[in-house]
């Protein structure tokens, strides 16, 4: 316990030299953090958005992590139909939601308008 406490204190000393933004980039990766920051600037805090996760999102926590990092913006999850594509009908993706977030290259989130996102999903067989 003494060794682990010492190691943790020493690690805390290294983290303490970073600004909060630098600490987040180090913890979650610069590409992801930069993308989240950009979305936070573009998407108003009271906005709703459609969240279209990658296939393995439950294992990677992609949607869960993103929801946390974009809160209090409010997500509606567009779920896969048993791996056969996404439900993009009016019931699953309400018309009044103007924005959607999809995974881009390397799982980095991308903000699109609803129509752009749905068109992209339909084109990819969703």
């Amino acid at each position: 316990m003494i060794y682990r406490s010492g190691a943790l204190l020493s690690s805390a000393g290294r983290w303490a030299r970073l600004t909060p933004a630098e600490a987040r980039r180090r913890a979650f990766g610069p590409a992801y953090v930069d993308a989240v920051e950009a979305i936070r600037r573009d998407l108003p805090e009271d906005a709703w958005y459609l969240l279209v996760p990658p296939k393995d999102f439950e294992a990677t926590g992609w949607a869960v992590w993103l929801r946390h990092d974009l809160a209090p913006r409010r997500p509606i999850l567009i779920e896969s139909k048993d791996g056969r594509g996404f439900r993009t009908d009016r019931d699953a993706a309400p018309r009044w939601v103007r924005w959607a977030i999809l995974p881009g290259d390397g799982g980095v989130p991308v903000l699109l308008t609803r129509d752009e996102a749905l068109a992209r999903l339909r084109a990819s067989g969703g």
Partner: protein, 488 residues
């Protein structure tokens, strides 16, 4: 790290600790509690009080969740505590310091170890962002949604299409997060991490206090040392003090409430304090409900037995149990009322699929036995639990506390609750091994205060062998009045 995070964390800690210290000064049951025990209870009572106040004010009175409401929650206990402290000063009724006896050097080493481990957890919390799974998925996300809406009845929780994990999980700890951030005037999640980190020293102080009451100073210190050798509790981010899971707060609230209710002759104020802590347990996690029910049942049983035996403590125990029960009933009413408007989704839906018949049928299932290898592997892994589960059974064989001597039986029953919860859960789910992997340590943690209470009783038998142990046992629950291991 900037001064801003230091001042923010200090403001958040002062909020809970100040309110809690105020409560311990007002409630006469804490008059004979030492500084260490008082600080531990103060932290728990402060979080419990402020969380309960915000929950009730927001849901029932529709008061906006913001800085003024947090101040309003903290003000009464702070002011009452200040008045009580001044009154004690004026009347010179501060407890005379105990005559100093030379403490062995190892007790100083123990204090240093406790400070070192707590400082490490706190240092990590102050410098790193929140990275654990449930903290980000549920507890901190809920806090952000509720804080933005300004009410626990946030539209995003009630809207059936919104993507919220476990939207019906109780919100006491998210409300504590909101209170901490409002007190700090910040959005920095490292302040939230500090709140969770401080439950570790609170647990150590609680175990120390439980050990002192039931087994004396030396046994208590050795028991606290055993706690400090377990790496999982302070360092694990997925359930320990390094994350934002609600299991450690639940363990503290449940254990603290139980400790107060099992006092030999509890005062009415002990019942109120226990009620606050158990109500907080009920509003911290779903498992809180069965744990609270067992704690109240044990308190009622101890009161009933004392009344049957015409002991003088019977009425005070019954009153304390009744007061605690009333507060828990009110908390349950709040939980049911708050939940009723929230459609369940993104959840395991235990309650929706629950039926007594299938539950009873599954209880006899051999499925939980399949989890034994993973459970044994985790408990005996030195990186998780140190050598605790290697040595504790040896201790219990060598110096088993006498079952008939209270509070042994009560503690054993309370310690078994999380195990029964585990059995019940693992018998119901198809992937029991997976569930055991992700929940077993946390269930053990939830019952750790009664487990350490039992350990203290065992250590007492080692430290004071029965032949020389002449401490009289005046009541079914043997409690030294000073909490120092012997009557004064």
């Amino acid at each position: 790290m900037t001064a801003e995070i230091w001042t923010g964390a200090l403001a958040a800690v002062s909020l809970f600790l100040g309110a809690g210290l105020g409560l311990t000064l007002c409630l006469p049951g804490f008059a004979k509690t030492g500084l260490a025990g008082r600080l531990g209870f103060a932290w728990l009572l402060g979080v419990a009080w402020i969380g309960l106040f915000l929950y009730a004010a927001s849901h029932f009175a529709h008061v906006p969740l913001d800085g003024p409401l947090v101040f309003l929650a903290a003000f009464p206990p702070l002011a009452a505590g200040l008045v009580a402290a001044l009154r004690l000063l004026v009347l010179r009724r501060w407890r005379a310091p105990a005559p100093r006896t030379a403490r062995p050097l190892w007790t100083l080493a123990l204090s240093l170890l406790a400070v070192l481990v707590s400082a490490a957890v706190l240092g990590d919390a102050l410098t790193r962002p929140l990275e654990d799974w449930d903290g980000r998925m549920t507890w901190t996300a809920q806090a952000m949604f509720v804080r933005d809406a300004g009410t626990v009845d946030a539209g995003v929780l009630r809207f059936p299409k919104s993507f919220i994990s476990h939207p019906r999980y109780p919100l006491l700890m998210p409300l504590a997060q909101i209170a901490a951030l409002e007190a700090a005037g910040s959005d920095d999640e490292r302040i939230v991490r500090v709140v969770y980190a401080l439950f570790f020293p609170a647990l150590v102080l609680l175990v120390l206090e439980a050990g002192r009451r039931w087994a004396g100073s030396r046994a208590a210190l050795l028991t606290a040392l055993a706690l400090l050798t377990i790496p999982w509790i302070p360092f694990d981010p997925e359930g320990g003090a390094a994350g934002a899971y609600s299991d450690l707060p639940l363990a503290c609230f449940f254990g603290g409430g139980l400790l107060l209710l099992l006092r030999g002759r509890p005062r009415a104020s002990d019942g109120v304090a226990a009620g606050l802590l158990l109500a907080a347990a009920l509003l911290t996690k779903n498992e809180g409900l069965p744990e609270v029910l067992i704690a109240l049942a044990l308190a009622a049983l101890s009161a009933g037995l004392a009344l049957l035996r015409r002991r003088r403590s019977g009425r005070s125990r019954a009153l304390a149990a009744a007061l605690a029960g009333l507060l828990c009933l009110a908390a349950l009413g709040l939980l049911v009322s708050w939940r009723s408007a929230i459609p369940n989704r993104y959840d395991e839906s235990y309650f929706e699929t629950f039926s007594i018949a299938s539950y009873a049928r599954n209880l006899a299932s051999p499925r939980p036995f399949t989890t034994i290898p993973v459970i044994a592997r985790r408990m005996l892994n030195p990186r998780l639990w140190g050598l605790f589960w290697w040595l504790a059974p040896v201790l219990f064989v060598a110096a088993a506390p006498r079952f008939r001597r209270p509070p042994t039986a009560y503690l054993a029953a309370a310690a078994a609750v999380p195990l029964l919860a585990a059995w019940s859960a693992y018998a119901q789910v198809p992937s029991a091994v997976y569930y055991a992997t992700v929940t077993w340590d946390r269930l053990l943690l939830q019952g750790c205060v009664p487990v350490f209470g039992l350990l203290a009783l065992g250590v007492r038998r080692l430290v004071h062998p029965p032949a020389r142990n002449l401490t009289p046992v005046p009541s079914p629950i043997a409690l030294p009045p000073s909490g120092r291991g012997g009557p004064r």
